[in-house]
């Protein structure tokens, strides 16, 4: 059977029935000036054999580097069974199922996912996931503006300690609705939002975003920040790392009454690093706001015979019912990745996740100790961290990155583009996947590079100009 369902004959018949001579006539309504002339920069099509060969060659260019880069996407051990089960035919779909009667297994899995996320974040309810962490933050901002009935404002307090890409994505998504971000600078010693720097007279603000840990890996003073926000009738949006929640206070318990919305990227929960995705976003909130939550929600119910079953619930929020007033136009999502995350969490369990978090933290402390023991490396922030830290080098980081990458070690993420004040600084991460030997190899290589860079004061003439 061909992939393209219509034969030339079918097309001719249909055009004849409509009374036009070719397909282009169907687009008469669109002014000529607005029509694309073709895609000049797209090359000619290739055969399957040719494409396989190109992709194979490109895949060979990837090195199995030792990765100390994090910055929002983290290398964790994924038990082999996770993807073995996830890719079974019964689960293999990106969609949240529409037909409850034919999808009980998937619905039950999503219900369990929601239960796990609500438990991890300490919040009342979870949705069935969103696209990724950055768009989850955007959805949380839109939701907070809708949900905060004590505020008429479309202003959001957005700290610079929130992932720069999350801030950009969120701004792109919400600015069309007139929502603006008041940027809050960080404490340059602690690398955190200093509660003393919060505005005395903030005016009407819909929500404060609190990252935990923040983009620098630093832990924020979440209780004080949460209470400050609530005193000013401002909702709290927590942006959290799910692994860290195994050992940190969950957003539902921040301050006196807890955060209002918690969101983040689910990638650390069993999703491999893959050129920026696909990952998935999660979102949880308090019960009061569930009708303002975007995305789908799976509920547990009983059928006519009194047997337990699972179904999509609270659909009146969604676009097929509420149309333009829907809480979001998200209806499908990264279902397959959520499946993997649920199986990952079920396999490692709360104890396993806690071990992952503790070992990652311990490795980062060891890495920090060994890095700062090198002459020419300084820890930039003095506050406690989770599994990442910022280090300033007395040498140009571009040089260091080039040299370590050539030796198959990714040393971290250069912060200078997003934070000009953090010149020659790298954001470095060590998860549970790093051994003592890995850390030693990294620091020894750095020492060699430093020695070489020191001697460039008497440069050798290049052999070729």
């Amino acid at each position: 059977m061909p992939f393209i369902p219509h034969t030339e004959e079918d097309i001719k018949q249909m055009l004849g029935a409509i009374g036009v001579s070719n397909i282009d006539d169907l687009f008469d309504e669109i002014p000529v000036a607005l029509r694309t002339k073709g895609l000049a920069s797209i090359p000619e099509g290739l055969s399957e054999m040719e494409v396989s060969r190109i992709l194979h060659e490109r895949a060979m260019q990837d090195q199995r580097s030792l990765c100390f880069a994090g910055a929002g996407a983290y290398e964790h051990h994924i038990p082999a069974a996770v993807w073995e089960i996830t890719t079974r035919g019964e689960f293999y779909s990106a969609y949240t199922p529409y037909q409850a009667e034919a999808s009980q297994g998937t619905l039950q899995l999503l219900y369990e996912y929601q239960t796990m996320m609500a438990s991890l974040t300490g919040m009342d309810v979870s949705n069935a996931s969103l696209y990724d962490g950055a768009s989850a933050l955007a959805e949380a901002v839109l939701m907070a503006v809708r949900a905060n009935r004590k505020s008429k404002s479309k202003r959001i307090l957005m700290p610079r300690t929130v992932h720069p890409q999350y801030r950009k994505v969120a701004e792109t998504i919400v600015k069309g609705q007139g929502i603006t971000f008041d940027v809050l600078d960080y404490d340059h010693k602690g690398g955190h939002i200093n509660p003393d720097s919060l505005p005395q007279e903030p005016g009407d603000i819909a929500a404060l975003v609190i990252p935990q840990p923040n983009f620098f890996g630093v832990l924020e003073d979440v209780d004080v920040l949460t209470d400050w926000a609530h005193q000013h009738n401002t909702l709290v949006i927590a942006v959290v790392n799910p692994t860290a929640l195994a050992i940190l206070k969950p957003p539902g318990l921040w301050g006196e009454i807890g955060a209002d919305i918690a969101c983040g990227d689910g990638q650390p929960l069993g999703i491999p690093l893959a050129s920026g995705g696909p990952y998935f976003g999660f979102m949880c909130c308090r019960q009061d706001y569930v009708r303002q939550m975007p995305g789908r929600i799976i509920g547990r119910t009983t059928d006519m015979d009194g047997k337990p079953g699972f179904t999509l619930t609270l659909q009146a929020r969604e676009q097929h019912i509420r149309r333009s007033k829907a809480t979001s136009n998200i209806c499908t999502n990264q279902g397959l990745l959520v499946t993997a995350a649920t199986i990952y969490m079920a396999m490692v369990g709360p104890d396993g996740l806690e071990k992952v978090a503790r070992q990652s933290h311990a490795n980062t402390l060891l890495l920090t100790e060994q890095l700062t023991a090198l002459a020419g490396v300084h820890q930039v922030f003095n506050r406690p961290c989770f599994h990442e830290g910022v280090f300033r080098f007395d040498y140009p980081v571009d040089e260091i990155m080039r040299a370590t990458t050539a030796r198959s070690i990714l040393p971290g993420v250069n912060l200078e583009d997003e934070y000009p004040e953090l010149e020659n600084c790298l954001l470095v991460c060590a998860t549970e996947t790093k051994t003592e030997q890995d850390i030693k190899s990294f620091t020894e290589l750095l020492q060699k590079i430093f020695t070489r860079l020191q001697t460039t004061c008497c440069p050798v003439e290049p052999k070729m100009a």
Partner: protein, 129 residues
């Protein structure tokens, strides 16, 4: 047979309005509207102190079938909202013109009440539905 009390005024979007002795107005959705919606599962009443113009969407009623906006019939400020609906939205199904009231309003121009549809006109309108 539809229930359309004669002392109330009505809108095309199926809200009812009652004039209270203290000069305020009580607003809800009609029995006909609750019948069309089916079993209500949630009501989002407006916040006290909010100003609305006539025609603004000011509340949401959600049933097992649909969610609908409730439109403010008069210009004015919300003085009271029916808090009991949060836990018992079925009050609207059981008693749309009584316990199922949604909010009270201090109108800017009380005279606008008389311009709303009377019971006979409303009854005629819904008979055509």
């Amino acid at each position: 047979m539809n229930n359309v009390p004669s002392e109330l005024r009505y809108t095309k979007s199926h809200e009812w309005v009652a004039r209270n002795d203290d000069g305020s107005f009580t607003i809800g959705i009609t029995d006909h509207a609750q019948h069309l919606l089916g079993d209500l599962v949630f009501v989002e009443a407006p916040d006290v102190g909010t100003d609305f113009s006539a025609g603004d969407d000011c509340a949401v009623v959600e049933s097992v079938k649909a969610a609908s906006d409730v439109y403010c019939p008069l210009d004015g400020e919300v003085t009271e909202a029916n808090e009991t609906l949060a836990d018992t939205p079925e009050l609207i199904n059981n008693d749309a013109f009584g316990d199922g009231w949604i909010f009270k309003l201090q109108a800017k121009d009380a005279g606008a009440f008389d311009e709303l549809m009377d019971a006979d006109t409303y009854a005629e309108m819904i008979a055509e539905d």
